[in-house]
């Protein structure tokens, strides 16, 4: 049965979609009252982002005069927003649709999803941790979250755990000696079960530099200023103190492309416009990407992001 048919059978179900409206209204109010600009960037762009393990939706633009251009649906609005930051837009946020191809459609993934990104200038990733805590508390409206039978204490501050400490304490390993290939296997099997016992959301920060393509290095340059925030095993956001060094950015893009080549994946052009923008001067800035569908899922106590959508991809494309 399609979701619209289910709603027709039980009209109360439409109320579930109110949760999404409330979450999105809450996000807007939070940032606008904090002096952030709302920006609107393109969903279809001429150059995609090139993370080695992510795949993009490709299309083609054709004009009536027969001009043809490759077009790609964004995986994140990050590149466009950074150009606006270089232009001087200041603190800003965007709520936009993003797309990822070749991913398993699951309780946490839909090919089309809603992303929230915000950027705070003259700030680092630790300031974004605070923003996230307050935004999340605002959305939930109380300092306790009941989700799928679990209860999470949201009172501030949430634990902040260095990756290196977590690997040492729970996996008895030096994270710098763990290959990127083994990183998440160890994280999920040995570390996450221990962190879940905290009963709180938590921040994991300072990733090995090899895992932070757009983040600036820490004082110890083997690590980068990046964090991820988790609640109940669900990753909610990924943040960087943004890299402001154009030549370093270019090197990392080239490394990503080399990795794609090694994996036998399509090689895309580098967004030279972004390199130009960073070169022209990017303020010190930190930014984060947050999956809005996941916020809705938690706020509405839904077991999957699909349950929080009126047209889940699984149903739409018969997956």
């Amino acid at each position: 049965m399609r979701t619209w048919q289910r709603i027709k059978n039980d009209p109360n179900l439409i109320n579930q979609s109110l949760i999404r409206e409330k979450v999105i209204d809450g996000i807007r109010t939070f940032f606008k009252s904090g002096g952030f600009r709302e920006v609107f960037t393109p969903i279809m762009v001429p150059v995609p982002s090139i993370e080695p393990n992510l795949e993009v939706f490709k299309t083609e633009l054709r004009t009536s005069k027969g001009v043809r251009r490759d077009g790609y649906l964004i995986m994140s609005p990050e590149f466009s927003i950074k150009k606006l930051l270089a232009a001087g837009v200041g603190n800003c946020f965007e709520i936009t649709r993003c797309f990822r191809n070749e991913e398993e459609v699951s309780f946490l993934h839909n090919p089309e999803f809603t992303m929230l990104e915000w950027y705070r200038v003259n700030a680092d990733y630790k300031d974004i941790m605070k923003d996230f805590e307050h935004l999340f508390l605002d959305i939930i409206g109380k300092d306790k979250l009941e989700y799928q039978g679990g209860v999470y204490d949201l009172s501030l501050p949430w634990p902040r755990i260095k990756i290196a400490d977590a690997f040492k304490k729970y996996a008895k390993r030096d994270v710098l000696e763990v290959s990127d290939a083994d990183f998440y296997k160890i994280f999920f099997n040995e570390i996450e079960p221990e962190l879940l016992k905290l009963g709180k959301p938590y921040f994991i920060y300072d990733y090995p530099i090899s895992q932070a393509s757009l983040a600036r290095p820490c004082k110890d340059p083997r690590f980068a200023e990046r964090f991820e925030v988790f609640l109940g095993g669900v990753e909610l956001g990924n943040c960087f103190s943004e890299l402001t060094d154009a030549s370093e950015q270019k090197r990392r893009f080239e490394a990503d492309l080399a990795e794609r080549k090694k994996l036998g994946k399509t090689i895309y052009p580098i967004d030279t416009d972004l390199i130009d923008a960073i070169e022209s001067g990017l303020p010190e800035v930190s930014g984060i990407a947050v999956g809005v569908d996941r916020l809705v899922m938690l706020a509405g106590d839904f077991s999957s992001i699909g349950e929080a959508q009126l047209f889940p991809g699984k149903e739409l494309f018969d997956l």
């Binding site: 109360n12 992510l54 398993e104 998440y184 090899s210």
Partner: protein, 188 residues
Amino acid sequence: MNTINAGNITKGSFIIFKGAPVFITKAEFMSPGKGSPVMRIRFRNVQTGSAGEFTYKTGEIIEVAEIEKREMDYLYRDGEELVFMDPKSYEQVNIPLALVDEQFGYLTQNLKCWIVWYKGNPIGVNLPAHVTLKVVESPDDVAGNRINAPKKSVKLETGIDAQVPLFIKVGEKVMLDTTTGEYLNRVK
């Protein structure tokens, strides 16, 4: 030995985990922006019933549990066991009720199910996607409210309750989805 890449594990399949056959209840392919993709699985050990979870790198080689499926008819419940019969050989087998779990309420006599076997032991029962059940009890006049297509709760021949439209009467048959328990349509 049959093997697959961990990246190809699917929900509903059977693999060997640490030497024991397990049923995959959730398989989540995860591709972090950085670092290698992983396959996060949740499973149930089919011998002990205990649940667990594990994360593989997608390229790891995993042993598949070599299972066999046979179509059999459900006959009756005998204590904590269910009796099924092979319609060709008339051979009867007893299956632990726990393997059917909450789907027990969809079983009616002679319903054709697929029984999953591993090394000569039944380890799972797959029900048809939908079943037809008779309504045996229904509240009399449920006040129809203003909203269109409201639902009422009725009792079915197997003892379970279901949410069905108001126009369904005692003695009528309804089709239900065996995965979600949802009402699909009235059967004449």
